[in-house]
Symmetry: C2
Subunit: 202 residues, 2 copies
């Protein structure tokens, strides 16, 4: 019995590892690519290799960048006194699509998890504490997902920042329980940012 | 307002053109790739470029191949007297997964369509007629999708082959109305092949 040629099989297996694609949709996607190998497949392969080669994490905020510091960190029009803490890059993009935040970011790269052995250093929380003084930050806006892990991490960060005296707020109105930022429409995110509330006693 | 870096944006736009991926799932897939740029992204880019470079259509049956004739056409253990006609490569793969067909293939690359101006030459139907004599074919098995277009094309092929005197059969039992081969489980395809019925008067 014959299967797809070995190199196509290998390609299908790699595609099937992408989130949202199973074996069948990976086969469909690969056939689609082969049909459009000039217009889509080669440009996609090139773009992928180029991004893999050039992409790096911003040394300050963890955003993706092709330079050591990202465009947001080096943009003088962004408000350095406000740092918005997000779990991952997708959430940073979602905040930016909202379009109303003018400060800078701190990308944790996940949430605290005893199960997966993710500790504060893995999330660059010590680096966040360091930024408060170094950059003259007056407010930290916690924009973590409204999940158990997200809120556990938010509480940990509140504690870690307590001694700095910085004002801490959190996205409030509009983020539904169990909701994830990247699923929300842009208006909801803007409203939640505008109605953010100071956390009492923090 | 900042967006993903330009090269990442371009990659997301290309990924979003794959069947089954929208803008949001393309963003998720690209972030996943960037996180695993060593283990997944670079190998995927390389595999894609390699397939785009090497893949071609078998000059005889239309199967995908890295050689001018595909492994099925050159395998002496495959029965040259039986040709199974399928709409596209995904259907050939589905037949092969079924595992009970031991003959060779003819891949049409679509169905007849007045609307899309797809004619018999576009589907390599004249080449199919030529193969009947050249290869000493005794039976043509029509394994087209049970859709209106698939069955219209099947009838056209029956007419085109009438003068050759070749026996024509069609997948019978197990293919549900409106069903597409690539969605069926392997056992159903095997059963349909086994119970194929001679088309009377053809
Ligand atoms: Zn940055
Ligand atoms: Zn072939």
């Amino acid at each position: 019995m014959s299967q797809p040629p070995t190199d196509i099989e290998a390609l299908i297996a790699l595609m099937a590892r992408l989130p949202g694609l199973g074996p069948r949709s990976a086969r469909r996607a690969v056939l689609h690519l082969i049909r459009k190998r000039g217009q889509v497949m080669l440009p996609l392969a090139t773009a992928m290799a180029e991004v893999a080669r050039s992409v790096q994490e911003c040394g300050r905020c963890g955003n993706l960048s092709s330079t050591p510091l990202c465009p947001i960190c080096t943009d003088p029009r962004r408000e350095g006194a406000e740092i918005c803490v997000v779990e991952d890059i997708a959430d940073l993009w979602a905040m930016e699509r909202g379009g109303s935040f003018r400060g800078r970011y701190h990308v944790l790269g996940g949430t605290l998890s005893a199960l997966d052995a993710v500790g504060p250093e893995d999330l660059r929380i010590p680096a966040l504490v360091g930024r408060i003084n170094d950059e003259g930050v007056s407010e930290v806006i916690l924009a973590l997902n409204a999940t158990v892990d997200g809120q556990t991490t938010a509480h940990y960060i509140q504690d870690a920042l307590a001694l700095t005296g910085v004002r801490i707020s959190a996205l409030a109105q509009g983020v539904p329980m169990g909701g994830e930022l990247d699923f929300l429409d842009d208006g909801t995110i803007s409203a939640a940012l505008k109605a953010r509330k100071i956390i009492p006693g923090a």
